[in-house]
Amino acid sequence: MIRASVIVFPGSNCDRDVKVALEAVTGRPVNMIWHGDAVVPASDLIVLPGGFSYGDYLRCGAMAAHSPIMRDVIAKANAGTPVLGICNGFQILCESGLLPGVLMRNASLRFICRDVWLRVEATDTFFTRAYKPGEVIRVPIAHAEGNYFADPDTLARLEGEKRVAFRYSDQAGNVSTDTCPNGAQHNIAGIVSANRRILGMMPHPERLFESALGGIDGRGVFQSAIESLAAA
């Protein structure tokens, strides 16, 4: 039995989408938690959804990182509760210090919405174990600030600890600057925490979880959570 909680910030707009995907894949109802609450109820996983929390004013995710609920999200994450941050959720994870680095304006300076190919780099994490190592999946992006940046030491540590979960690639899995839609360093599309239970990713797995939407490659993220919980 999976208890998932989705945090709703003012300006979140993929909160319903990820709820629908989670409920379809897990078969369990999902808690929607208001950002102004102080406590996240006991959860097997917490999701920070996509959107424009606080209108992206100041800096994407910067204000949401200081929402009342985030104090408890951070505490629970540090205590081992798995956390998934998608798009704006990834930005909030970075702004709150749960993941390193920042997400800058896309190199093109434009918002980009399209399917991209991702090479799965790490499958020993809470949210990626259902994928095969090196598998290439198709998942949409929709962001103006997805250009991942970190200092050289941080990047070296992420690479050394194999914490890059997804990299932008071509359909064959080749990774190059040509296959990077937003200028992200090392083509990074998603990274995990040191304990491999917090995943931040710019692409939206909830947008391709059923064939009616044109693909099911995003389903693996939610399936992985089920398998990880079952294995625990």
Partner: protein
């Protein structure tokens, strides 16, 4: 007209002829106002009447003609006259939609002009109790080599994206043209489609006396007060600062406003609700009071204000964005306020409905306006403007239009042209998947979004071909309606109803008024025959600069119902070895065609005629074939004709849109080759069908007296036609995709 004289509001300055002129009153309009009021207006009242009598609010030039449009049908729940139209989808679901222009603001300040256009049309839709689920836009820019075009494209596209993406409503469709006729007057028409429950539609009639008038949303500022009315130094000596007349949008507040309104709408606390759009507080209060048959007393001291020292005049005319007005049931204020406070929005009781039949505006304890509501709402002049009909050019024969050396080479040239090249650069800047229900994405005939939580889908599209309308307004508008119909059919939908956005020049010029009249007549005929009524719309006149009008541009937004999204069609060829069947009559019509424009640099002759009876027959057949799963891809033939349609199907085909080739079969009839492949005959579809089903499809068309023939076979990775060099799809794709990104990155 009721001419009840009333006490003149206190201490208002005398109204000078200059003030009258700067408020846009023309001819005998001001004497008419004096006669109706029986006294001089106060300055606030003058401002109120200037906006209520503006073309934008009163439709004074267009209303007599708009009345002739068909607006009813068994599917129509609410026709024109409310914030948006409402159409039944069965099972208690309904669709709410409208299209509206934001042309002038977008030319002056493209980002904010376009953004606030999107915000405004979304408010029109959620005001009715609907959750917005899809946005579209119809954009017309000047010639690519005009110095402002690139800047305007960049600003408008990022403004539309910036607003819609943040609010979280997918932008799923639209169209874009480039034409010298829009060099100094671009068109930005935004359409919003929402979903509601038929028993939870909210209207704007303030029925009942003693009810609280509630203001919610953003604070009121000095933005959007019309520039011309700001120029009067006599009343405005303290406000030297001239605000731009373009409003500034805040999509974050809009998102919160949607959620808060829908949350309150789930209760039964609201009696009436209206957004504050054009003419802000003035038009929302007077329309709500008029529809409810009540008076209204407003105390402007309670209006949430962004800046200090605002006058009553400024507050009544402000067009600050993201504001709504509600009439609540008495005693429900606290419950409503809690919801709006939770979402961080302003909430203020600013007035009360009365039994006086008057709108009384008080500020700092002084009465600034005191007007009879029916006079305010209904006294605007109505004009039957003189008009001369447009004389359509003569039909030209296909033989008169020069033939090209190579058909496939011409195809490549045309698909790389600004008129036909890929619009991907535009729609990839719009989030078209948020809300998780987009089952047919942009780039095809119509987009399809699911009715959330059901198997039903909404098909949405917008279209008009201005060069046809310019040549023959009636036929061209008939064509625009028919093309939206065809686009909806092509994805497997039942076309339900349309919204129209009539963009024309100066109606005081008889030839422009003649274009408008012809256009309305053509629209009316098409809507009547196709059982496809007009449920909402917007008229934008005076689109001209230095006496030169834009091409007449009646943009049509069509909405259809897909009963089961498991049975839809898309344009991409998916199956190798299928045959392509062309359904519809072929005349090789090259007059006003893109072939003529691109390859011969002329545009002449009559536009292609539309046979509405054939449209109905072909539409029913194609839709039936889609639902029977007899087709693997469908596309209608429009701009550029048959070969363009097939090429678009090929490029969109294959695995993940990698492309699927077509062997084109030689034509053996009597028409010139270039007319067959590039003629823009109407009422035609290309269907991909299994070879074993082709005979049945052709036979079923023949039974309806519709011509049908096999025009090609799918497979491979190139287009091939006997006697011509192959055209690899990768080469064609490069040509098709590269123009717009290259144009936009040139500096």
């Amino acid at each position: 007209m009721d001419a009840t004289p009333v006490k003149k509001p206190q201490d208002s300055p005398a109204i000078t002829p200059e003030m009258v002129a700067s408020h846009g009153f023309k001819g005998d309009e001001y004497p008419r106002l004096l006669k109706i009021l029986g006294r001089d207006p106060s300055i606030t009242e003058l401002g109120i009447f200037s906006v209520m009598w503006s073309e934008h609010c009163s439709y004074k030039s267009s209303r007599v003609w708009l009345k002739t449009l068909p607006t009813t049908g068994p599917q129509v729940i609410q026709g024109p006259g409310e914030n948006a139209g409402v159409v039944d989808l069965g099972d208690g679901d309904c669709v709410v939609f409208k299209m509206e222009s934001h042309n002038h603001p977008s030319y002056i300040e493209p980002y904010q002009g376009a953004a606030t256009g999107v915000g405004g049309i979304m408010r029109d839709v959620f005001t009715m109790g609907a959750r917005p689920v899809a946005n579209l836009n119809a954009l017309r820019f000047g010639a690519p080599d005009h110095p402002k075009t690139r800047h305007l494209v960049s600003g408008v596209v990022s403004g539309i994206g910036g607003y819609g993406n943040c609010v979280g409503v997918p932008t799923v469709g639209g169209e874009t043209n480039f034409d010298t006729g829009y060099n100094n007057n671009i068109l930005v028409n935004a359409m919003c489609v929402g979903l509601a429950r038929s028993d939870k539609i909210f209207l704007s009639a303030a029925k009942g006396v003693g009810l609280p008038v509630v203001y919610v949303g953003s604070k009121t500022g000095r933005d959007g007060i019309h520039g011309a009315t700001m120029a009067s130094a006599e009343f405005d000596e303290k406000s030297a600062e001239k605000r731009p007349t373009v409003q500034v949008g805040d999509p974050f507040t809009e998102k919160l406003l949607i959620e808060a309104c829908l949350e309150l709408m789930a209760t039964d606390a609201i009696i009436a609700i209206q957004d504050m759009g054009a003419a802000g507080l003035t038009s929302s209060t007077s329309e709500m009071a008029d529809k409810g048959g009540v008076g209204i007393a407003l105390d402007l001291d309670n209006v949430p204000q962004r800046e200090s020292g605002m006058t009553a005049y400024e507050m009544m005319l402000s067009e600050s964005q993201e504001r709504m007005l509600m009439i609540l049931k008495p005693g429900r204020e606290a419950e409503a306020e809690a919801i709006f406070r939770k979402w961080g929005l302003d909430f203020a009781v600013i007035g009360i409905t009365t039994d006086t039949g008057r709108m009384v505006v008080t500020h700092h304890g002084r009465i600034e306006a005191d007007l009879p509501v029916p006079v305010l709402a209904d006294s605007a002049p109505m004009y039957e403007r003189p008009w001369v009909p447009t004389v359509p050019p003569k039909v030209i024969l296909p033989e008169w239009v020069p033939a090209p050396n190579t058909l496939l080479g011409t195809l490549k040239t045309m698909l790389a042209h600004p008129q036909l090249c890929s619009r991907r650069w535009i729609w990839e800047q719009y989030d078209h998947m948020v809300m998780g229900d987009t089952v047919v994405r942009p780039g095809g005939d119509a987009a399809v979004v699911r009715v959330h939580g059901t198997k039903k889908g909404l098909a949405v599209t917008c279209d008009v071909t201005p060069r046809y309308v310019a040549a023959d307004p009636a036929m061209g508008t008939k064509q625009a309606v028919a093309e939206t119909y065809r686009n909806l059919i092509a994805v497997g939908a039942d076309p339900l109803a349309i919204t129209d956005n009539m963009n024309f020049g100066n109606p005081e010029r008889p030839e422009v008024m003649g274009q408008f009249v012809g256009s309305v007549q053509g629209m009316a005929e098409a809507c009547r025959v196709l059982d496809y009524p007009v449920v909402s719309g917007n008229v934008s006149l005076y689109n001209e600069t230095n006496g030169v009008s834009i091409p007449p541009t009646p943009a049509i937004g069509g909405v259809g119902l897909v009963p089961d999204t498991a049975h839809i069609a898309e344009i991409g060829l998916t199956r190798s070895g299928d045959v392509l069947v062309l359904i519809g009559r072929e005349q090789g019509w090259l007059g006003q065609s893109l072939y003529q424009q691109i390859m011969t640099e002329t545009l002449e002759g009559a536009p292609p005629p539309v046979d509405l009876a054939d449209e109905l027959k072909a539409g029913r057949l194609v839709r039936a074939l889609i639902r029977e799963e007899k087709v693997s891809a469908v596309h209608d033939c429009s701009d550029g004709g048959l070969l363009i349609a097939i090429a678009e199907m090929a490029l969109a085909g294959g695995n993940h849109r990698s492309g699927m080739g077509v062997e084109l079969f030689p034509y053996e009839g009597k028409l010139p080759m270039h007319a067959v492949w590039f003629g823009e005959d109407q009422g035609r579809y290309v269907l991909a069908v299994a070879p074993g089903d082709a005979e049945e499809v052709i036979e079923r068309a023949r039974l309806l007296a519709l011509p049908a023939r096999i025009v090609g076979r799918t497979g491979g990775d190139r287009l091939a036609l006997r006697g011509e060099a192959f055209l690899p799809l990768d080469e064609l794709r490069e040509a098709h995709e590269s123009w717009l990104p290259r144009f936009m990155s040139d500096h």
